[in-house]
Symmetry: C2
Subunit: 418 residues, 2 copies
């Protein structure tokens, strides 16, 4: 009933699951490819600057681990994750005001897998997930893979707008199960904005009343440029918030070690889901992260990262102020990796990308961060990877591109609304 | 609308997705816990004997990797996996007669994740997956998590019975989409049986005619005790077979590096699914496996593993022959990790487990390997982990337990049918 056809024909086309149609082609992969081009300064990817890590110390640490605990590090582990690592994770979270015990924690393949596992246990087709508009690009892909509907809640410079959240829940409830609020409250991806303390209490209260589970995705929480660490939502609502953490930005993404903190009954289901998904995570990378936290000066190293990212962020914000044409707006983050730029009316960031690449600068068009067709008049810039001088060069190139695009737009009537 | 209740109450109970009900409590986790008890010889887990690996050489290799390629090893990678590793994987597969190019390969978190990704792109609720009876325990959990129906096809000492396969497809087709044949054709888990060459051709032909995609799970293929490597199903049907491979048994499960080989259109969808699931796999463990294959004598090391497992298998089969009561039958594997034992009529392996543990031996009851309530009269023994002397002790204990259970069963009329 099937036969060999041309290499491009897909004989299995009629066989895919309905959810497969919702899997979006990868914006991110394309961007990784662009970032490798020598003549392009990429402000696109969210890759942390791992070159600041002490490679020699890590080499010694890993060699010791293999010699001393090789039989554990190379073996299968449990689906919930290594207990010693879970213990360390609880210590790390105290910085953000979270009280949790190791049994509350499930170690995941990056926080991305935590998101996937939550989607797996909570989302039926047609269920509704609320998220900031804009929101983390790949989260949209994950929710869509479970055939859920992502509905955006507007945000401003102080984060998610509580009144809009309440209104959206009320409006949507007759149309389906409003299951989750997915939020990146601290140094938001892609906007760089942080939810204000007053709004945190309001958001938690609205979700508690509405029975909506809050998923707090917090990969950047420890990357504040200055001042006290931001208190996590989970710290004030252990029953109503599931917390996603990650060592990708505070240590290294190559470990793929993230985690979920959840109430016991949910955690039990997450562990079962993990087993069906991957059996168990790498003991080797788990024990390496555990030993890194136990033996290396990881808080001073975090300070190195924070100082580096602050300098780069300042370079970007200053360059934007110096070069951007009138009508352009941008956020000024207090931590994390990203600045969100709103273009002058009439310019489409997706359409402009080809011109930008030709001019030697890459970014992520805003439309990727919306599930509903929004975001065309905006783009995300990341300052985490290139050094300050390259950031200045890239922003100057981008400013020139926007000016050219503005001039072209002025000549041709545009129907786009931003 | 929700409030803090007792620690055991699950306020989110009404909120779970329908698929969550199908997630089975973990048999495997319970067994890992048992395996740790000093007084119990565990013939339960399928843990490879990583203690045979050269820890010192691995320590040097890993330290070199971090110093020479730290900025790659600690960074994000692509969702498809490292190209150099995919190249090596293609070389490895030539041993089993497979011709594939690196672009056909997707690196996964163990072959378990490959299975999960295939389920994600192919299985709608109610779809049918055919599998050997018995079949790999965690595969049942994965298919069930996608609300698929697992239907068993009988096997005998030469593997899956082709006539039964054809009959099952014909019988089921009016009831739903028969999407996949999931098979472990070589050194089968849990039975230890290998599909004969003649039957391989028949199985491929039946599935080709019926338009059923074959998923060949082959973690043990390179662990033949003697003779030539077994030719993979994929070698003779590149368009009709998706192949799952793993380094968990030929190198170390702590890496969690497995892979999928699929036709281009399917592979493209797998990569999208991977992105929504984990963004990318650990570059660190991928590059470590790549360097292990490139710089270490991995084929001689594989010979060490094969000789060790052959010795242990012989110890088990000999001990079974010497001590098992009449009416007990078992398989005699030519490779891999497992022996399948069929108990004398009337004995339930699940019910017998408590007595076995009290007597100091652990196994996996056969029921776990069936989705349909079968397998109560059988159990799986693994010989991969304990040394021969411990295997002999454990089999003697098991034989005594079966004799006791037989005596007890003779006294009490039983309704169980095996």
């Amino acid at each position: 009933m099937y036969s060999t056809r041309g290499p491009d024909a897909d004989q299995w086309q009629p066989r895919y699951a309905a959810r497969t149609a919702g899997m979006r082609a990868s914006e991110v992969r394309r961007l990784f490819a662009m970032a490798d081009r020598q003549d392009v300064v990429s402000l696109a990817g969210g890759m942390p600057n791992v070159e600041a890590l002490p490679f020699d110390a890590l080499a010694t640490l890993t060699a010791d681990l293999l010699i001393e605990r090789g039989r554990h590090a190379l073996q299968y582990g449990s689906a919930q994750g290594d207990p010693d690592l879970r213990d360390r994770i609880c210590e790390v979270m105290t910085i953000e005001g979270i009280t949790a015990c190791p049994d509350d924690v499930v170690v995941t393949v990056g926080s991305q897998q935590g998101l996937d596992m939550l989607a797996r246990i909570f989302l039926d087709p047609g269920d509704i997930v609320l998220a900031e508009g804009p929101t983390y690009l790949t989260a949209i892909g994950t929710f869509t893979a479970y055939q859920a509907r992502v509905v955006h809640v507007p945000m401003d410079g102080a984060g998610l707008i509580p009144e809009a959240l309440a209104e959206t829940i009320t409006r949507l409830r007759p149309t389906g199960r409003v299951q989750l609020l997915y939020t990146v409250p601290t140094f938001h991806n892609p906007s760089g904005v942080t939810l204000s303390p007053a709004r945190r209490a309001q958001v938690l209260d609205i979700c508690r009343r509405a029975g909506v589970l809050v998923v707090e995705d917090n990969p950047y929480g420890l990357l504040a440029f200055d001042g006290e660490p931001v208190r996590a939502l989970r710290a004030d609502s252990p029953d109503g918030v599931i917390y996603l953490g990650s060592f990708s930005k505070t240590f290294a993404p190559g470990m793929r070690v993230g985690w979920v903190v959840a109430p016991p009954a949910v955690r039990e289901k997450l562990v079962r889901a993990m087993e069906s998904a991957i059996l168990s995570h790498s003991m080797f990378t788990q024990l390496m992260v555990e030993r890194y936290l136990a033996t290396q000066p990881w808080l001073p190293q975090l300070k190195v990262f924070r100082d580096m990212y602050r300098e780069r962020c300042q370079a970007m914000v200053t360059a934007l102020g110096e070069s951007m044409p009138p009508g352009t707006r941008w956020t000024e983050p207090g931590g994390g990796f990203f600045v969100w730029v709103t273009l002058p009316p009439g310019i489409d960031a997706s359409a402009m990308l080809a011109r930008a690449l030709a001019s030697g600068v890459a970014y992520v068009p805003g439309a990727g961060f919306y599930a509903d067709g929004g975001g065309h008049g905006a783009l995300r810039l990341s300052y985490c990877y290139p050094p300050p001088e390259r950031i200045r060069t890239a922003v100057a190139r981008l400013a020139a591109v926007i000016r050219e695009e503005s001039a072209a737009t002025d000549r041709v009537p545009s129907s786009s609304v931003c």
